[in-house]
Structures are given as C-alpha cells and as structure tokens.
C-alpha cells in the first residue's frame, strides 16, 4: 500500500523493502547466503560500504539518505520526494543533463526512489566510469544548493503532479492506498501523509524552508554510500575520500517519535471510483522493520495467498470460486507496517460474502496455525531468490545499504535470513491472532453510483472525493 515514487518510470526499481525483508528459508546452506563487503566511515560521518564482484564489468553506486516523508512536518509535506527529483537537475559543478549523460548516455542507468523512511539514488554503469559516478554523487550531496532556485523547484513540482496523476488519479483503484493511510494514522502521525506530499505545502514553502531541509538531511552523517561490482577497493576508497572527504558534517538530527498504531474498532469505508468491478481492501496495522514480528507476518502473507494451495487462494479462487484473485501481504516500513488483504470478486459474488468467507479462513488460521508443510513451501524458494539477487550489483548495493541504514549493519541480510529461518508455526499463529484483530480498515472501492456493491454497505461510511483526494490532486 505504501507507494514509492521514483524519478522515472522506465528505469528499473529496486525490489521493494517488503520483498527484501522476505528472506526466509528452510534449512538452507547458509554458506550461499553471503555478500562479501568492507565498510569504513569518513570523519564527516559518511558510512561507505564496498563489495567486489568482477563477474561483469559494471558497478552500482547507491547513495542512501536516512530521510523520507516521515521527517516532514504537517504543512510542509512532500519535500523528501521533491528533493529526489531536484537531485537530478544539476548541482554546483554539474550542469543540468550531465548526470544523465554520464549514466544512461554511457550505457548505464540511474534512478531514485523515496518512501516514508529513506530516499535513495542509484547508478549502474560500466565500471570504468566509477570515478565519474562518485564525483556526481558527491557534488549533489555537497553542492546542490549552489544552483537551486525557485524555477527549478517549480518545474519539478509540475512533474511530481504528473507522477501523481499517472500513478494514482488515472489508475483504477489508485486512491485506495492514501484512503487507507489516512484512516489508519492520526493526522499528526508521521506516517499519515503521502510520500508524494501536498502540492499546496510545496507551493507555500519558502526557499529557506527548502534549503534548511536539505542542509539537515542531505549531510554525509545522514548518508550511506554503497559501491558494488567490478571495483578495486583501494582505488575506490581513495576516490570516495577525494570527493566526499571535505563535505561538511551536518547538524545533529532529531528523528520523529513514531508511536505504534492500534485501531480500537473496525472502520468501514466505501469509495466510488472509475472502476468496472468492485474490490475489497482490508488493512490491519502491524509492525515495521524494527520488530522481529514482521518475519512471521511475511510468512503468514505467503501462506494465505499466492500459489493455488495457499489458504485464501485455494478457498476463494479455487474451491468456492467467488473471487477472481486474492492477495495478502505484509508491508514493512522502518517503524510501522500494515498487513493487507485485497479481494477482486467474480461476477455474482458480493464483497459482503467474500469478506465473510475470508474471515472464516483467517479465523481457522488463528485457531490452527500453519502446517509444517505450509511453512516449508512458503520458505523453500528463499535460497533461489537470494542467490538470484546476487547477480545484480544494484540488488546487492540495496541490501547492504538498507542493512546499514536501518539496522546499523551492512551484513544484516544474513541476520534477516536466519531470523526468517527461525520462524515457527507457533510464531505465525501468534502474529495472526495478535495483529489480524477487529481493529482494521475495511475499504470497498466500487463503480461510480454503486455504493450498494460495498461490503456491508449500510455499515460503511462514504469517502467523498474531498476526503480521498488531497489538495494537490485538484
């Protein structure tokens, strides 16, 4: 449900965090689970992670900043994502366009992505261009503000509006994510506003607001730099020191206090959208990366839906044949998370009946827990997924930087793998009972004028366009 705006839709995105976190396995040879790396920290606080892989003459550079939409203040939302765009428009010594020329123009690629917790930038290029990439990343870390003015901000704001239109407003069911976030988190909660932010806030922001945000969060002490691929680590360290070494350390950062969310009661909503077929969304507040319960919740998601033998898929899609598709997944952010169920009905089957049928299957899981075979099937593919991921310099850079940024350990991928391995049937049963409780959001998205197609329509509050749509969309 948590959108991750990116700069450019054509270029590959990194695997979403929730997928990276799903590194569970059953009885794997843990010697396959390795990414060799070295790490060092510059005096200005920049943490650097290097990993050598000469298989392909390419290198990935990832600059990971510990800033996302949760670091924004109400009334000043959308900065983190706007910076992601601005960071590609040139800096003190890099004219506009050169960043692209020194990435896609030499056979490589670039992109950036923002979520609630972090913003990251990455390049994959032929390895003989590594010094150029370090020079580029250092320049926008150190000298972005030299060339930033209101015109640049406004131009990128227009593009961000288009991004929102394309990924949210013009997509059937595209608003479901923001409706659920708004219902789940109180207005003051740092996870309540969208990553893409409010265009009104961005327009209202002064140049000083924007520059202060950058100075605080885009400092080396809030950044992690991963360099992975066909590199000479000694030369790489020398280049990193050369280009990043004299960038000044920023001020100390106060991170927002994020309280966990529990919903006292079920909240039922219905939203009319330009869709052909109604769809049911159920979302429970769960936990984020910092809680080990997310491992069991991810397994629960894999046991409930996906292959035809998964509990909800088998019951609703195959046996009862009331649903065209069913999806369950745990999404983990740094501090909070959500467990989500999405059901698309077949004609002639009401959302009310499908919700009831799904609840019966979930209740059974709460009572019985999963079987040993279900656990085994849900984890059997993890070794392949991990090893396959080792083929990508960028994939490895993402894992190392996430580990360093979220957990203070670039090698956290191994801990993660082992913790997933340690999940038991009792754990899955416990988290199903603990988190899939009555305090949840039930949202029916229905065709225009068809509120009666909602699940339990009489009990569901209509979400109006004004509630659903934030000011920037109008």
């Amino acid at each position: 449900m948590l959108i991750q705006p990116t700069r450019n839709r054509w270029l590959p995105r990194l695997v979403p965090l929730a997928c990276l976190a799903l590194l569970s396995t059953a009885a794997m040879q843990s010697d396959a689970i390795k990414i060799p790396f070295t790490t060092f920290t510059l005096p200005n606080g920049l943490t650097v992670i290097l990993s050598v892989d000469h298989t392909t003459p390419t290198v990935a550079v990832e600059a990971w900043y510990h800033v996302g939409s949760k670091n924004e203040l109400p009334g000043r939302t959308g900065f983190a994502h706007l910076f992601e765009h601005v960071m590609f428009t040139g800096s003190g010594h890099v004219p506009y366009g050169l960043h692209d020329k020194l990435t896609e123009g030499i056979g490589g690629s670039n992109n950036g992505t923002t979520n609630n917790d972090r913003t990251m930038y990455f390049e994959t290029v032929p390895s003989n261009y590594l010094e150029d990439e370090l020079w580029l990343e250092a320049d926008r870390m150190g000298f972005l503000l030299d060339t930033l003015d209101v015109n640049k901000l406004n131009a990128q704001r227009d593009i961000v509006k288009n991004e929102r239109r394309q990924s949210v407003d013009n997509q059937p069911y595209g608003r479901s994510g923001e409706i659920i976030s708004k219902a789940m988190y109180p207005a003051s909660h740092p996870y309540s506003w969208d990553v893409i932010g409010s265009m009104t806030d961005l327009s209202a922001a002064s140049e000083d607001d924007v520059k202060n945000f950058f100075r605080l969060y885009y400092a080396p002490n809030n950044a992690f730099l991963a360099v992975v691929g066909d590199i000479d680590p000694v030369q790489t360290k020398a280049w990193v020191t050369k280009y990043f070494g004299d960038l000044p350390r920023g001020k100390a950062i106060t991170r927002p206090a994020v309280s966990p969310v529990t919903l006292p009661a079920e909240q039922r909503l219905v939203f009319e959208d330009r869709v052909q077929i109604p769809r049911l969304y159920v979302a429970w507040p769960s936990v984020g990366e910092k809680s080990t319960d997310h491992f069991a919740l991810e397994l629960l998601g894999a046991i409930m839906s996906g292959p035809r033998t998964a509990r909800l898929t088998k019951a609703l899609v195959y046996d009862q044949q009331g649903a065209a598709s069913v999806l369950t997944r745990q999404s983990s952010n740094e501090d909070v998370g959500e467990f989500t169920l999405v059901i698309t009905p077949r004609p002639g089957h009401s959302l009310t009946d499908l919700e009831q049928a799904a609840d019966a299957i979930i209740d059974r899981m709460k009572t019985e827990g999963p079987t040993a075979e279900e656990l085994q099937k849900a984890t059997a593919g993890e070794e392949l997924r991990f090893v396959s991921g080792l083929q990508s310099d960028l994939g490895k850079a993402g894992r190392l930087a996430d580990g360093a940024g979220y957990h203070g350990d670039p090698g956290y991928f191994k801990t993660e793998y082992e913790k997933s391995l340690a999940v038991t049937a009792a754990d899955v049963k416990r988290v199903a009972n603990q988190y899939l409780s009555h305090g949840r959001i039930v949202l029916s998205v229905v065709p225009m004028g068809k509120a009666d197609q909602a699940s339990k329509p009489a009990d569901s509050k209509k979400v109006t366009d004004g509630d659903a749509q934030r000011p920037e969309a109008r």
Binding site: T58, G97, R165, V234, T241, R308, S392
Partner: protein, 483 residues
C-alpha cells in the same frame, strides 16, 4: 604474506592520494576521465540438435549455483490462433498448470513450491515459451516437472472454466484502464481487423474457446521442430544434454518453423487523431505511430541510434522537451517493436489533460525535427552510440539475461557473432542515416494518433491545433460514425 604486502602497499598508496587531495584544493569542475573500458566478453554456447528435432543450446556460467532454462517456440499467437479464437494459446499455456496424468493441479503446485521455483508458460505474438530458473541442485527435478507439464497435460474442464472466468474479469477491469485501452486501440487502427497484429483477445473470443480448441492448439503448437531449448548457468554442457534428453524423451518429433507470412497492410490513412473518450480522466494517454520494419531490416542499427536520440532514453528529445522542459508529463518515450513482421513504431506517454493540445504540438515538432528540421548534433550521435554499445556487457550479467541474449540470436536469425559485431555496426551509423531512417519509417502524413482522454476537455483544443482531423473511436478501436 604476499597478499598482505600487496594490501599494505595499496593502503599506503591510498593514503598518499588522500593526502595529496588534502594539500591541493580539489577542482570539482573537471569531469573525471573514464578509465580504460574492459574488453567485451560475450558468453559462449554450444548448439546441438536432439533426436526429435529440437535445437539445444547450453551456455555454462559457474560463478553462482543457478540455472536459467527455457523452451522457446518459434511462432506465436499471430501464427497459430484463428481470429475468432484469439486467446486460445494463453489458455493452452495456463492449462499446463492444471494437471497431468499423474499429478493434479495442486500436486504440481506443491512439487514446484517445494523446489523453490515455478514454471512459467506463456505465448506472445511471434513466439511462446516455458521457462524456469532454479538452483543448480534443483535443476533436474524441476526439469522433470516441466517435462510432465509439457508431455502429459490433461486439460481438465473445471480448470478451463475457472481460467475463463478470471480472464473475463481481467478484460472487464481493463476497460477502465487507459493504458490497456490504448494497447488495444492503437494496433487495431494501425493494422485493421484482418491483420493478426490488429486482432485482440475479447470477451467474445474468450467465451467461444472450447476445451477441444485448447487441446488442438497444444497438440499442433508444442512441437520440437520449432523449439529451442536453452540451458544457461551452473551446468556441464554434456550433462545438461543428458538431463534434457531424459526429461523430454517421450516428446515425439514434428512441427515446423512457421513462415511468418503476413497479409498486406491496409492502405495507410492520412494522419488522424483517434480519440477514445474517458470522461474525467486526469491524463490523456498518447500513442502516435505507424507500422514499422521487421527486425531483419538493414536499417536496424541506424533506427536504434535514431530512436535513442528521439525517445529511447530520459534525455532523449521527446522526454527532455515534454517532461523536463514543459512539465506536461511524468515521462514520454518512443520505440520500435521489432520482430518478423511489421511491428509498430510508437511514440507516446501520459499527458496532463489540460495540456493535451500543447503536448501534441510538441510531439509533432520532435517527429519533424528528427526527420531533418532539427539537425542531429555530434554530441547526440556520440551519446546515442555510446549508450547502445556500452550497455551490452550489462546484459550478460545474469543467467536469465544471457538466456534472452542467446535466444534472440536464434529466434531472429542473427549471425553467431552478432554481439561481437554490434559495436562496429553501431559505429558506422551517420547523421545522414539517422535522418534518412526517420523519414523512411515515420510517415508524418499517415500517422495514427490515438488519444485516450476526457473528450469534453480536450477535443476542442486538439481540433484547434489543426494537426489532424478527429475520429471518435470506441475502446475496441472501432471508429464511430461522424457525430
């Protein structure tokens, strides 16, 4: 000790570099010169023919315990489906997961889940495939399951009816999805209903397909005579051949490579805007283009360079103008769909509703520009060539990437040293070539401009541009009578 000494020397060298940097102020305005590029390393492979006529290619790569396996069938839905049974190939592929003589659908699913992988079967316009990726330890066992699916499917009625119902739901949902509407309408306008490229899977064809159709399709289509079996990764070539022969031993010979004869294209119409009304749409979805050349055109390399300059990358002319400079879009691009037939040239993207007319003017300006009104610069030409040539090593970075690269050589009939020669071929392209192929393959007088958007807001402004007359079109691509 030798290693440690080396490391120590290197550390000292690094310290020396760092201290030099500290002494002299760093001149950041200088773009660091790239180091010497690595020599191109193209994967090698061995080719053989199995007793049943299938071609087998094996490429060894041992750095990770991974295998990418695929069977590719030459010819696809456009060769093997009748117009009133479009979609039968996709059903035939999906039905392979519904059960075999010894395993029902759940047993197949369980077996694959425990192997930690999945077998994907699918069909596209000009080819079809069955693929999986596995750890090398699970390769043989996964191949056995694939062999069972390929050779012993039972096509149970219940599975077909469920898949049919699911497909009908997808088709219904797609009616509200602007990109899906455009993908249906644009080829219909370019190729017409009589050409396979203009035909689509519809509710009618999905409802018409019977189990007999599916079985007949499978029997006619899934034949070794038109198949390439490719195994890439941590395998021994001889052992892989033995494994494949064992798993597919009962696959009888038969099947031919299709001729890929296509009917004549319909007469080209003068440039027209085909408007599909999507009331309230926040954006207008643009698809502008015409039928293009086949992959074997001698102009392939010049077209590749031309398209990088026009719309193949972020800083290509279309995106640099319409997104970055004007702010009308989150991204626009262009490309050619190369294959055996006249695949489409398409330029397009999603445009904010209120700027639909201005965006159309800019699209047309850039198309005219690449045909000569805006000369290609030295920098554009060099960057486009570098982008194409230097991306090649990265495409060989994974077993799946190598598999695709090798399969493409086979399926498109490219020379065995295609990748070795690629850079030299790209290097030959001149500015004159770029303009020549743009003029030859983008017909400004006969473009189809398909726009899915809010008619009430955009029709008037689009008309006022004077670029082309407007024809209202339904979501299947049928032109409505003038209103």
């Amino acid at each position: 000790m030798k290693v440690m000494t080396k490391t120590l020397t290197a550390v000292l060298a690094a310290l020396a570099l760092a201290s030099v940097a500290a002494q002299q102020p760093l001149d950041r305005s200088k773009v660091p010169p790239p180091a010497k590029p690595a020599a191109l390393r193209v994967p090698t492979w061995t080719t053989s023919t199995l007793a049943n006529g299938a071609t087998l290619i094996v490429s060894e790569k041992h750095d990770l315990p991974l295998v990418s396996f695929s069977i590719t069938f030459l010819g696809g839905a456009d060769q093997f489906e009748k117009p009133d049974r479009r979609g039968v190939g996709a059903f035939a592929a999906a039905m392979l997961s519904e059960g075999t003589k010894t395993r029902d659908g759940e047993a197949l699913s369980n077996a694959l889940q425990l192997l930690g992988t999945n077998v994907q079967a699918g069909i596209a316009g000009e080819n079809g495939s069955m693929t999986f990726q596995s750890t090398s330890a699970k390769f043989g066992a996964t191949l056995d399951v694939l062999g069972d699916m390929l050779l012993n499917p039972t096509f149970p009625d219940a599975g077909l009816e469920r898949l049919r119902a699911q497909r009908l739901v997808q088709l219904n949902q797609a009616k509200a999805q602007p990109a899906a509407i455009a993908q249906r309408v644009f080829p219909r306008i370019l190729y017409g209903a009589a050409h396979p490229f203009g035909q689509a899977v519809t509710e009618e064809t999905v409802k018409a397909i019977t189990r007999d159709d599916v079985v007949a399709f499978h029997q006619a289509y899934v034949r070794p005579g038109r198949a390439l079996i490719s195994v890439v990764g941590d395998v021994n070539a001889a052992a892989a051949k033995t494994e494949v022969e064992r798993a597919l031993a009962k696959w009888p010979a038969g099947g031919e490579k299709p001729s890929f004869q296509y009917p004549e294209l319909p007469a080209r119409q003068a440039t027209t805007i085909y408007l599909v009304d999507k009331p309230g749409a926040a954006q207008s979805t643009f698809s502008i283009g015409n039928p293009g050349p086949a992959r074997n055109t001698p102009d392939y390399y010049a077209l590749q360079v031309m398209n990088v300059i026009l719309g193949g990358q972020f800083q290509s002319r279309l995106n640099a103008n319409i997104r970055e400079e004007k702010g009308y879009s989150y991204g626009v691009n262009s490309g050619f769909a190369y294959g055996k037939g006249p695949g489409q040239f398409r330029a397009g993207g999603d445009i904010v509703t209120a700027k639909s007319d201005l965006a159309l003017i800019e699209f047309m300006k850039e198309l005219r520009g690449i045909e000569g009104s805006r000369p290609v610069t030295d920098e554009e030409l060099t960057t486009a060539k570098d982008a194409l040539t230097q991306r090649l090593p990265g495409t060989f970075g994974s077993v799946a990437g190598i598999n695709t690269a090798i399969t493409t050589v086979w399926a498109q009939g490219l020379p065995p040293d295609y990748y070795q020669q690629y850079g030299a071929q790209v290097a030959k392209v001149t500015k004159e070539d770029v303009v020549r192929v743009a003029k030859k393959y983008i017909d400004l007088d006969h473009l189809a401009i398909v726009i899915v958007g809010d008619r009430a807001v955009i029709e008037g402004p689009l008309k006022a541009t004077g670029i082309a007359p407007i024809a209202m079109t339904d979501i299947e691509g049928t032109i409505k009578a003038a209103q």
